[in-house]
Amino acid sequence: MTGRSAPPKLNPAPEKTFTAERWAEAFESDPFKSIVKKRSGFIVPALLLFSGVFFVLWVIQSSFPAVARFPVYGWVNVNFVYTMAIFPFVWILGYVFVRYIRREVYPLEDELNRKFGKGSKYE
């Protein structure tokens, strides 16, 4: 994967060497279904949480100015603390996602590759 690319072909569209049957079988396979389930199992709640955190910021800034300016430490107020807390929150969510995918999903993708990719019974 890391070497130089192969000599260019005349038609550089994404390669389509698999047959439709091979793709359909891969789509219906257990590893692929598990991949979809595991990915959605993280992504959907993560996006909901992420949207919720931003929605609360919007509500505080738009509708509760007294809460936004409420002092936390000296002149540092709730609006500033909440805004700054979003930075580590978003980063941690991203980091946990990458760890999760590498631990839970990549082994399934390897399994799918062994069944349907290069070197499988199809070749």
Binding site: A13, P14, I43, N79, T83
Partner: protein
């Protein structure tokens, strides 16, 4: 100041030309030209991606905005940063797994290529050009402000350098110039933040107290509402930036430069990390400039606030007339200018690939063009785009073209994102649905921006300057309705292929 800045700028330009020469010798295939040979590592691509984003608007603009209006300006920092989580979760890996060079590769994979690719190419071309022209105009204005040279000369210099970088070095040169720029920008930003905080004994509370107690400022600088007056304005700006960023063609293209899905995912996380370490500092620059430089002086030199950060650098590094103060200011000015050139180069390659690869090779030539011919067309396209951008910048430099950047974000979020998301995740997408969504979305976004306050000012017919909260749902709805009302058996069959390929990396381009 000007001579020192120009000298530093020339040194940086010399370095970028060496990078371009080095890259040009390595660009032999179309993959080298469009995707840097897919040899860029995750952290390198992460730096290059933030290089695309840390434009003059981010580096100079947010600081000026916070200086003039207070912490409301942080919305740009927080939303640009957060948009990369969306990219990481939903887009980065599937894009790398399914396409070859461009956004159009993904949508035409399962849809009727003859209908969808030209449209995707036109959208990509227009988005990139609309984002490029304001950058060129800003480059001219900044060159006058920062170096004291005429705006038209500055604009032409930027355009010519952009053509040289891309026509000779392609994506490889663009990537390494972005990496260089990102490293310098982050270094400069941290030195500046250190020097500013030192003035306040490294206490954010002391900085805030200085803002609250300053004669021309006050506690309102630390509260939301000074700039964004209505809740809808705030929500819509966030929405447009969040979703527009995720569908900008020059950002999506970056995920093809890495060798594998792991690197694509890694580069999105790296870019999130680098964005974090830059954007947590913007309030220090803005509030620091407001207190230490003063908004009156900043406004007297530039009503847009773009000079706030360089002036702050001079003040905290020793002050006007001191060697350290002038040197640090000159360094930041030179970096800011390199920032602009690197940013326009990324846009240039996105626009030229839309023409040379999506339109010329895939539509006109039906994929039949020799390899050498493809690279030649790509180089000519880069030259043409560069000339167009210079001409557009010169023609429009007296006009306020800030709305064009807003329009680019709005079209990306409204027209491209729904098709991209549905192509990857929804079985029911049809070619007609995608055409209706892309065409309709672009028209809706265009109408809302051109009848909105950014273009019409106080006579605006549409109330929101950034229309994302209205147009993005319309874009999704148009694509959905267009799809459920039409049939496309081919797309349904191909969905299985694309779903497996995008989510597992099976048969991904190497």
């Amino acid at each position: 100041m000007n001579k020192l800045s120009i000298a530093l700028f020339l040194v940086l330009i010399a370095i970028t030309l060496v990078i371009t020469y080095w890259s040009a010798k390595r660009v032999k295939t179309t993959t080298d030209f469009y995707a840097a040979g897919r040899r860029i590592k995750g952290w390198q691509n992460g730096l290059a991606i933030i290089g695309e984003f840390l434009t003059a608007a981010a580096f100079l603009g947010i600081g000026g905005l916070i200086s003039f209006y207070g912490v409301d300006g942080q919305i740009y920092s927080i939303t640009w940063f957060a948009s990369f989580l969306f990219v990481l979760l939903v887009i980065a890996e599937p894009i790398r797994n399914s396409g070859k060079y461009t956004f159009a590769d993904i949508v035409s994979y399962r849809l009727d290529e003859r209908k969808i690719r030209p449209l995707a190419a036109i959208n990509t071309f227009l988005i990139s050009l609309m984002y490029l022209i304001p950058q060129m105009v800003a480059a001219g204005a900044l060159s006058k402000l920062l170096f004291g040279i005429p705006a038209s000369s500055g604009l032409i210099i930027v355009g010519v350098l952009m053509i040289i970088y891309i026509a000779f070095g392609g994506m490889l040169a663009a990537t390494w110039i972005q990496v260089l720029k990102a490293i310098m920008l982050l270094t400069g930003a941290y030195v500046l933040a250190f020097l500013v905080l030192r003035q306040f004994h490294f206490s954010v509370n002391e900085l805030f107290a200085a803002v609250a107690n300053a004669k021309d400022l006050g506690p309102s600088w630390l509260e939301p509402g000074r700039w964004l007056k209505t809740p809808w304005e705030r929500l819509s700006l966030g929405f447009t930036l969040l979703f527009g960023t995720a569908a900008l063609p020059h950002v999506l293209m970056r995920f093809y430069t890495v060798p594998s899905k792991q690197h694509a995912q890694g580069s999105a996380l790296w870019s999130l990390t680098f964005m974090l370490i830059f954007h947590i500092l913007t309030f220090i620059f803005g509030l620091g400039a407001a207190v230490l430089v003063g908004n009156q002086l900043i406004k007297s030199l530039d009503s847009g606030g773009n000079i706030a950060v360089p002036l702050l650098a001079r003040t905290v590094a020793g002050g006007q007339g001191t060697l350290t103060g002038e040197l640090f200011m000159a360094f930041l000015i030179a970096v800011a200018f390199i920032t602009i050139i690197a940013a326009v180069s990324g846009l240039c390659i996105a626009a030229s690939s839309a023409f040379s690869y999506d339109f010329w090779l895939r539509v006109v030539k039906r994929g039949n063009q020799s390899h050498a011919g493809q690279v030649r067309t790509a180089r000519l396209a880069a030259f043409g785009i560069g000339v167009l951008a210079i001409a557009g910048g010169l023609l429009l430099r007296q006009v306020n073209v800030a709305y064009l950047a807003g329009l680019a974000f709005a079209i990306a979020a409204t027209a491209n994102l729904p098709t991209l998301i549905f192509a990857l995740y929804w079985k029911g997408l049809t070619t007609k649905g995608a055409v209706i969504g892309m065409l309709g979305g672009a028209i809706v976004a265009g109408v809302c921006v051109l009848t909105g306050p950014q273009f019409m000012g106080k006579q605006a017919l549409f109330p929101l300057a950034n229309p994302g909260i209205v147009t993005v749902p319309i874009g999704f709805l148009l694509t959905y309705l267009g799809s459920v009302l039409t049939k496309d058996a081919h797309s349904e069959v191909m969905f299985k292929e694309l779903a497996v390929r995008s989510r597992s990396g099976l048969e991904a381009e190497s």
